[in-house]
């Protein structure tokens, strides 16, 4: 049984060309998928389609075998969490208030978050290494700290599928590795599935599946060993000087200046 499957998705913004074209993908429970591609290749559009924030103009998305659009938003939110590229809030919410909002799909409509929700939020902050920020106003944090907090909110949601849009773009090397360890750990213990956009090719070898997009279309898909090859990457990024080399568990990717 697939947790999520998408078939032949098309999406175009108003008066624009197709940003996503005939894209299909599947995410079985407990798998880690990464989406790579050049800037503007449709990665974020794809993940927003999967999160239900955009409606595909053609194609279908199934969550647990039911069309995504037919899910009640509140019930869907118990299964799927989304981490955007960046979040800015107009009001000085504290980090804890923000992470607690991730518990919304699990608390009934006219109740406040209880002790259990508090613990889940605290635990999520600890997992992302952001527990020390709990009482700070979110808008006073740096870009990297914000990413850790937004990830914590998504984890507090206890999803089965986590959709991440470049979650590590502002993180230092240490925190990038920590992020990946947290995700791998949740896959092992909770059967979490992950679909993650990244430009950070170093860690892609840790994923089960790599999907490469170019101009909105899937150009390559498969295991890291299938996709992380000189020829494939040169085609994906349109750069004839890219090299990829496997060193132990890691993949080193570089391009000539």
């Amino acid at each position: 049984m697939m947790l999520l499957s998408a078939q032949n998705l098309d999406y175009a913004y108003a008066a624009g060309p197709l940003a996503v074209r005939r894209v299909s993908l599947t995410a079985p429970p407990g798998t880690m998928t990464t989406v790579i591609g050049a800037n503007g290749s449709g990665k974020s559009t794809l993940i927003r389609l999967l999160a239900g924030l955009l409606k595909p103009q053609a194609g279908t998305i199934l969550l647990d075998g039911t069309r995504l659009a037919d899910w009640q938003p509140r019930l869907r939110a118990r299964h799927v969490a989304y981490v955007p590229q960046s979040t800015a809030t107009a009001f000085p919410f504290t980090v804890m208030e923000l992470v607690l909002s991730g518990r919304t799909p699990h608390t009934s409509r006219f109740r406040f978050e209880n002790q259990h929700d508090q613990q889940q939020a605290q635990h999520a902050l600890e997992m992302t290494g952001a527990a020390h920020l709990a009482q700070r106003p979110f808008i006073s944090l740096s870009g990297g700290e914000r990413q850790m907090v937004i990830l914590a909110r998504a984890l507090a949601q206890e999803p089965r599928l986590l959709l991440l849009d470049e979650p590590s773009s502002s993180l230092d090397l240490n925190h990038r590795a920590a992020l990946l360890r947290t995700l791998l750990n949740l896959r092992r213990t909770k059967q979490l599935s992950v679909i993650m956009i990244t430009h950070d090719l170093q860690f892609t070898a840790a994923f089960d599946q790599v999907i490469a997009l170019r101009c909105g279309e899937v150009t390559a898909t498969g295991t890291p060993d299938d996709v992380l090859r000189d020829q494939v990457l040169r085609d994906v990024y349109g750069d004839p000087h890219i090299h990829a080399q496997r060193i132990g568990d890691q993949t080193l990717v570089w391009t000539d200046l």
Binding site: A14, A51, G52, L53, Q72, P73, R74, L75, R76, A77, V80, A81, Y82, P84, T87, A88, T89, A90, F91, P92, F93, T94, E97, L98, L100, S101, G102, T104, P105, R109, F110, F112, E113, P137, I139, R153, Q157
Partner: protein, 329 residues
């Protein structure tokens, strides 16, 4: 969290009760409980004028404050308020037209002035929403500028209505526009409450979803909020509340700006505290502002709109100055 809410509401209820006591006691003539029993003139003054006026202040203050808190969340803009967004202006235009047509006209049992003010407020909020929204983003600067433009257009249209109508209606519009809480008897207040109480309850019931919307629209959507539906309902409720309020008390400015921010500073950002808290504190604030308006001059009284404007304008500027704290501006 639940404890925090109860504590906040208990404190604010106390503040409201004290304000009501002050509002009932002071005025052109001070009334003590003893006089109320002894003196029939004081009794008439109290029940025909003083009590209705305090109640009207309560109803209007509560309404403007809760709509301010809601509009700030809906537009993710700390400077949003019925006045700054032109919603009051739109309501005032609708009400002026109704007054020109005849104050006591009714439409299916509802005073025409309510219906017209609601329509005007709804039109204004729709225009502002349409202009400030480009794609998925509400542009904070465009929001306030379109509010200014809507206010100017509405003010010009009100002026036109005044010119076209007969002198007695024109005078009525002019008196009412300055924003005052002059009222005789309790019937008009009862009519307002029949509309306002359900609308207040509607907004309070949406407060959790509004809280998620105040954080971020995408976040709200992926946490299970039906964003379009929630926004549409909340806009309509705000327009209804502001329309009815404006038709009774004129355009009283800035209550919706000062009050929710005070509640935020005291009790935090969560809309589940800010909205009910604004309801209580807004009522207290306008009762006190009106008590001040009635007593500040040695003889006669100021319109309450002058007091809230003099307090609210600087508060607006202060918030603008502090905008570094608010990344969305």
């Amino acid at each position: 969290m639940r404890g925090r809410v109860l504590k906040a509401l208990a404190i604010l209820t106390l503040v409201l009760l004290v304000s009501i006591a002050i509002g009932l006691a002071v005025g052109s003539q001070r009334i003590t409980p003893a006089q109320l029993f002894a003196d029939s003139f004081s009794r008439a003054l109290f029940f025909r004028l003083r009590l209705p006026r305090v109640l009207l202040g309560l109803v209007i203050g509560a309404s403007l404050a809760i709509s301010g808190g809601t509009l700030q969340a809906l537009f993710r803009n700390p400077l949003a308020d019925p006045f700054t967004l032109g919603v009051s202006g739109g309501g005032a235009l609708g009400a002026s037209i109704a007054i020109a047509l005849g104050w006591s006209a009714q439409l299916a049992g509802v005073p025409l002035v309510f219906v017209a003010a609601f329509a005007g407020a709804m039109l204004a909020v729709s225009v502002v929403r349409l202009i400030a929204r480009t794609g998925a983003v509400v542009m904070p600067g465009a929001l306030l500028l379109s509010g200014v433009a809507v206010n100017l257009i509405a003010a010009a249209a009100v002026l036109t209505v005044e010119y076209l109508t007969d002198p007695s209606s024109a005078l009525r519009i002019l008196r009412w526009l300055t924003g005052s809480l002059d009222v005789v008897g309790l019937t008009p207040i009862r009519n307002m409450l029949l509309v306002l109480v359900p609308a207040w309850i509607g907004l309070l019931a949406l407060s959790r979803q509004l809280n998620l919307l105040a954080i971020d629209e995408d976040t709200a959507a992926t946490l299970g909020v039906n964003v379009r539906r929630c926004e549409t309902i909340a806009h309509a409720l705000c327009a209804l509340i502001v329309g009815v309020t404006v038709s009774a008390g004129g355009a009283i400015g800035f209550v919706g700006l000062i009050v929710p921010h005070t509640v935020r500073m005291l009790f935090g950002e969560d809309l589940r505290i800010v909205l009910p808290g604004s309801l209580l504190l807004g009522a207290a604030f306008l009762i006190l502002a009106d008590a001040l308006a009635r007593t500040v001059l040695p003889s006669g009284e100021l319109p309450v709109g002058a007091i809230t404007g003099l307090l609210g304008g600087p508060a607006f500027l202060w918030l603008l100055r502090r905008r570094q704290q608010y990344s969305a501006l």
